[in-house]
């Protein structure tokens, strides 16, 4: 009997990149296949090909042994393939029912929406697979975990047999992950087949029947959980032995640099995003803020850097009250800010690298005399920093948009770290970067800390937090639930805190 799904020699080229290079893959009925690989290894591209979002340059797709052509998501849905995207494909202002039915609407007379019929099917699906959700709620009002359930219901509503889950755990707490794994197991028990994309080794080992590793667009190897270890998977993924530890001497905390008292901040929808948050960061230490994305970290950082209004509470830097100060004042007080979204907030992409290097210092001497920009000096400084921070670029005059993600991040880091800073606020500084860049940036952060700089590191990646932090604060639902010394923190304890469970956490920690 032929496998349920087979990919043969799939190749996809983008300008300048070979994203998929002759990839073969098989998936059997009722199986969980994990697709493992770093960011940029080609996992998402491969799955987008399978889902009809990209057309492959070469290769065949076979379902039940028969060759099929998939040109659009429509074709994929027709063939029983469904995909839960990493970034949810939900329309925030629509209700759950509307989101689920979109594209395969139940209608009266082919024109008018039959919301009732759709609603009934959704209730049916959600009880069948224990995916609790209110069909009439607006998606934007739902927490992320529930939104993911909506995505899964969407796929089941289309009667998919093959479910592609693209990094489904990235936005979940460890406890939500456990829930998700239950759901996946129950789906498989009912005959569905699943392709599970991840770069988290432990999940893959726990969940998968078979594991396939991609690297640089090629198949780097295939294995099963009982034959693999985290270490073997990691080296397969990266192509070399990785030691994701940073050489870190014990912290020597000095004076208080950042002092936050009873901070309250609203989000864009005027709801309270940060509640009564207080903490201090001292010179020479890294305070890591862990937490699932969307629990107020973004708003916290924005409030600290003057980008968001502080409703109440106090922010002071080196004993200076900078609550609701202008961003520039905060920067000038010695704050470096590595923003969460480098392309949106960190760089002006059409500007040259040289201009981006002075994006927040251009007006100060020596880069400006009065109102006149000193282009020669800006240029020579940029040359020097590109060298110093190992930014790989043919020229400092090309726009920042033409750099890779890692090099863009290095431009930001070079800019921020070259200023005389007392405080570093870094938000997801290694998001989406390759291992080399991650190591490099981690080392730079530790170096700054060793030089006596206070660092606030916000990241949803627990590994990163645990590697770099001296103390770890966990944010949940706008509050800081606990601040632990790094040596007392365990993965399980932090995980429980990230899920808002405080009692269990202290137990696990002790």
């Amino acid at each position: 009997m032929p496998p349920l799904l087979e990919l043969r020699g799939i190749t996809k080229r983008f300008p300048g990149v070979l994203a998929n290079d002759h990839i073969d893959l098989t998936l059997n009925q009722g199986e969980i296949l994990a697709l493992l690989g770093e960011n940029g290894a080609g996992k998402t591209t491969l799955m987008n090909i399978l889902y009809g979002l990209y057309t492959p340059d070469e290769g065949d797709i076979l379902i039940n042994g028969e060759k099929v052509e998939i040109h659009s998501p429509d074709d994929a849905i027709e063939l029983g393939i469904g995909m839960v995207h990493q970034h949810f494909m939900l329309i925030p202002v629509f209700t759950v029912t509307e989101n689920v039915m979109l594209g395969v609407e139940s209608t009266k007379g082919g024109i008018f929406l039959d919301r009732k019929a759709a609603r009934e099917r959704i209730v049916e699906i959600s009880s069948q697979h224990s995916l609790q959700v209110d069909p009439d709620a607006r998606v934007e009002d739902l927490p992320v975990g529930v939104q993911q359930r909506v995505e899964i219901i969407k796929v089941l509503y289309r009667q998919a047999n093959i479910l592609i889950l693209d990094e489904p755990t990235a936005v979940l707490t460890p406890q939500e992950v456990v829930e998700l794994i239950k759901v996946i197991r129950s789906l498989v028990a009912q005959g569905k087949s699943i392709i599970f994309i991840s770069h988290k080794l432990n999940e893959v080992l726990e969940l998968a029947d078979r594991i396939m590793v991609l690297r640089d667009g090629r198949v780097a190897g295939a294995t099963t959980p009982d034959q693999a270890t985290e270490a073997s998977l990691a080296s397969m993924m990266v192509g070399r032995e990785v030691i994701l530890t940073v050489d870190k001497p014990p912290a020597q905390p000095g004076e208080v640099v950042l002092d936050v008292q009873n901070l309250k901040v609203l989000d864009d929808r005027k709801l309270v995003a940060v509640k009564d948050v207080s903490f201090q960061v001292r010179a020479g230490e890294v305070l890591g803020v862990a937490g699932v994305q969307g629990n107020g970290q973004t708003e916290l950082v924005e409030a600290l850097t003057g980008l968001r209004h502080v409703e109440s509470g106090k922010v002071s830097i080196l004993d200076r009250d900078l609550t609701n100060a202008m961003p520039r004042v905060i920067l000038e007080a010695g704050t470096a800010h590595v923003p969460e979204d480098r392309q949106l907030d960190g760089l002006v992409l059409p500007f040259s690298i040289a201009e981006n290097m002075v994006l927040n210092t251009y007006y100060q001497p020596p880069f400006a005399k009065g109102v006149r920009l000193q282009h020669e000096l800006i240029t020579s400084t940029a040359e020097q920093r590109v060298e110093q921070f190992d930014v790989r670029t043919p020229s400092i005059f090309i726009p920042a948009s033409s750099l890779s993600g890692g090099n863009q991040q290095k431009v930001i880091v070079a800019r921020e770290f070259s200023r005389p800073i007392k405080l570093l606020i870094a938000s997801q500084p290694t998001r989406g970067l390759d291992v080399g860049s991650i190591e490099y940036i981690h080392n730079l952060i530790i170096q700054k800390r060793n030089e006596g700089c206070a660092a606030l590191l916000v990241s949803p990646e627990l590994d990163e937090i645990m590697t770099l932090s001296d103390r770890i604060a966990v944010m949940y639902s706008g509050k800081i639930l606990a601040i632990l010394p790094a040596e007392e923190a365990t993965l399980e304890g932090l995980g429980l805190l990230m899920a808002g469970i405080q009692e269990g956490a202290t137990q696990a920690a002790s």
């Binding site: 990209y54 995909m83 494909m89 939900l90 202002v93 594209g103 309250k264 109440s312």
Partner: protein
């Protein structure tokens, strides 16, 4: 969510309360000022209607000028005092109500010892609101699908022009209407090609369409119409159709039930658009494309096709609006006859939060102010006509400034969709 307010927040809220209170009190003072020195005279508002030889009688509304103004001033003044001391929960409503009363007070004052046909004014409000409402509807179709359409002005101009030419050639006004709709669609298609296919910045594309439409119509007017005046003579405008049974109702009849068929068509379109957007499969898909085209795409919805269709519909309705202005109201084509109605329509659309009903209400406000300024200037109250003429535009700006904060545009409005 009930949260403890901090001192700073309270102060801020208080300040807002006082400022709004002061504004309302100022308006009360203004009304009082109107009232002073108008002792004993009367303001007469005629409610009966006389059109096309038919008289629909209704009693005149005769108000004692001073008493009316004093009571209005008292009403607004009380609201102002309450606002300053205690504060209303929804203070924008207070402002809106006060502005309405102020507008009415101004009318009462201006009509002192004179008479004004209120029904006529309302009729002309609806007439003036119609092209704006059509422009707003055109905007809704396009923008709900995620394409900003600033070129409506140009589409209307083309529609107005072609409607006149074809109505003159064929002698049939309805052929003219269809020609206007088609002309609008051609311009809509152009906007679609530029902004959907070539991903040109939609505002640039819209501006290009306006310039092109103004250029083509003014050129053709010089080169063709002026040499062949018979092409700019579509005959009498499309005549009003009275709806049997209800058209004789005083005030309401003339305002709503004895109008141009194109006005009825506009109202039908309003209802149809509402149903289409919120109760049909097509509407759900169009809205999904305007909110999150990528999500729609992953569900097998053809983003480009839906956007094309929406922009074509947008052009069609804009063309209809143009046809209404030329052969439905003016009876000929003049360069610059659209005179910003397309833009006013966009403002009405924003006011109405991209919903047909709200947009229509917004259009009525502009239509009213347009009619209001005209009637006031006829009454000769000593305020220069040209300054009163600014009223609809200033109203638009105030409305935009006051409402945009709460308006929620389609999330993907203005962003070309890039298929990967």
């Amino acid at each position: 969510m009930v949260e403890e307010l901090t001192l700073a927040q309270k102060q801020q809220l208080n300040r807002r309360r006082w400022i709004i209170g002061a504004i309302v009190l100022f308006m009360a003072a203004l009304i009082l000022q109107f009232g002073l020195g108008s002792g004993g005279s009367k303001s007469t508002f005629v409610l009966s209607s006389q059109r096309t030889g038919v008289n629909i009688p209704a009693p005149d509304l005769v108000l004692p000028t001073d008493v009316t103004l004093y009571s209005m001033a008292a009403l607004v003044g009380l609201a102002g005092v309450w606002q300053t001391l205690r504060g209303f929960k929804r203070d924008t409503v207070v402002i809106l109500v006060s502005v309405s009363v102020l507008t009415a007070a101004f009318l009462v004052w201006a009509t002192e010892d004179k008479s004004l046909n209120l029904t006529g004014m309302l009729v002309s409000s609806v007439v003036r609101a119609t092209p704006i409402a059509m422009a707003a509807l055109a905007g809704i179709y396009s923008e709900r699908s995620g394409v900003v359409n600033i070129g409506i002005e140009g589409m209307m101009t083309m529609g107005a022009f072609m409607a006149v030419v074809f109505a003159s050639i064929t002698g049939n006004l309805w052929v003219g209407v269809i020609a206007g709709v088609l002309a609008g669609m051609v311009m809509g298609w152009l906007h679609g090609v530029l902004s959907i296919k070539y991903k040109v910045n939609q505002i640039v594309s819209g501006t290009g369409i306006i310039i092109l439409a103004l250029g083509i119509t003014s050129y053709l007017q010089r080169a063709v119409l002026n040499l062949n005046p018979e092409l700019n003579q579509p005959g009498p405008v499309i005549s009003a159709v009275a709806i049997p049974g209800v058209w004789r109702i005083p005030v309401l009849g003339p305002v709503l039930f004895n109008q141009s068929p194109l006005i009825y068509l506009m109202i039908v379109l309003l209802v149809v658009t509402h149903v289409l957007l919120y109760y049909t499969r097509w509407g759900l898909r169009v809205r999904s494309v305007g909110e999150h085209p990528k999500a729609a795409d992953t569900l097998g919805i053809n983003v480009f096709r839906l956007r094309y269709i929406s922009v074509l519909l947008s052009g069609a309705i804009a063309g209809l609006g143009g046809a209404y202005m030329s052969i439905g109201a003016a009876g000929r084509f003049n360069e610059g006859m659209v005179a910003g109605k397309g833009f006013l329509g966009l403002a009405a659309m924003i006011f109405g939060n991209w919903n047909p009903g709200g947009a229509f209400f917004g259009s009525l406000i502009f239509g009213f102010f347009d009619s209001w300024q005209e009637k006031i200037s006829i009454l000769q109250v000593g305020i220069p006509v040209d300054l009163l003429g600014m009223a609809p535009y200033i109203a638009t700006m105030i409305v935009l400034a006051g409402f945009i904060g709460r308006a929620r545009m389609p999330a993907a409005d203005g962003t070309p969709y890039e298929k990967e």
